[in-house]
Symmetry: C2
Subunit: 216 residues, 2 copies
């Protein structure tokens, strides 16, 4: 278990879809910190995160995950997976204390949302959840670019991990958790993880961390 999770009177409810790697990030962070999180499930494909109730009460952006934080009578809602991980991990060893290392960890988390997720996660969603024949012509036309950009993100990660065991510093941080979530299931999007040996060793390393839970 990672040290240093905040001791609070809070309780946590995760609004999520168990298929979503973004939701898994938050559950994995909480598991490594030993924090219990209740779960409420939504089916994105059935529009369950676009209902008037969801938009008014949980997230006006119509997306999951959202971390609901209850303190006494007060409820607060935090969208965006990486922000929810940051909240849970506040003060723990999952966030480096050093100024540069902390910013460098955020660097990889922004990279994940900008360069990795829209390619690696989207192709998994399209190919293994929606199914290629059901994609629109516009989506089908975007597959080659997403394939190339996803492989570029995986290659950059592999080169980095050939030089060090963890993305930042010498132990697991939120950067590893954020990047692990969709990378370890990237083959469902047609990516060949065997092409990335250092990255594959890092996937094994994450799965060995005390407190680790699998996605499914």
């Amino acid at each position: 278990m990672v040290k240093g999770a905040a001791v609070t009177q809070e309780s946590y409810l995760l609004h999520e879809d168990p298929f979503s790697g973004n939701c898994y990030k938050i559950r994995l962070t909480a598991a490594l910190l030993g924090l219990p999180v209740e779960r409420r499930f939504y089916d994105i494909l059935k529009g369950e995160t676009r209902t008037p109730e969801f938009l008014a009460q949980v997230n006006a952006n119509g997306r999951i995950p959202v971390l609901e934080i209850t303190t006494g009578e007060a409820k607060r809602f935090l969208p965006e997976s990486n922000a929810a991980c940051w909240y849970l991990a506040d003060g723990s060893d999952l966030i480096p204390k050093d100024r540069f290392a902390q910013a460098d960890m955020l660097r990889w988390m922004f990279f994940e949302q900008y360069n990795h997720e829209p390619n690696v996660a989207t192709l998994r969603f399209w190919l293994s959840h929606i199914g290629e024949p059901n994609l629109s012509p516009e989506q089908q036309a975007m597959i080659p670019a997403k394939r190339a950009n996803g492989d570029a993100a995986l290659r950059l990660m592999d080169e980095h991990l050939a030089r060090q065991d963890w993305f930042v510093g010498d132990s697991i941080t939120l950067a590893d958790i954020a990047l692990y979530a969709y990378t370890h299931v990237a083959e469902a999007g047609g990516f060949a993880l065997g092409d990335y040996p250092a990255l594959s060793r890092w996937l094994d390393r994450v799965a060995q961390v005390s407190g680790y839970i699998p996605m499914a």
Copy 2:
């Protein structure tokens, strides 16, 4: 000027393109903090961030901005605009101290990179920098979706800003800076800012902050 910037022996060099809103975020953050930043210019369209030298020495991801931080003999390189802003603003009033407010600020910064930048900034780049006739058929086919998603992001911001003056808390934070950069030039991407009155008032508010510098 915002209070609390770290006093260090560091100097900063920004590897940037002056057309880029992501680069401007870092310059605006530094200006509000009273930190001097040297600038080195690259032309993305000429491939100047994809040279072997740039990839080896500045950013293996081939992108700007990158903040180069020099401390004595040591040089460190920090890619990702929002991470560089975080580094510069460490300890200042641009980052809330409260645990939830800090995570909520990061929420808006991840929203910016995922929901806003790929739509609002990309249409500006395509339409006012590359030119619509020069776009590939795949890019042209993506314009309607990027228009709709960009307007959805601006509408969400407008609804939030109808209830409060700043994205988080009661003064400017990095969330405002990150979202301001591409929003205030969104008309160059064909977005009608007049459709968003609360957002338009917020744009004026940001431009009144002590230490503000314009993009151009």
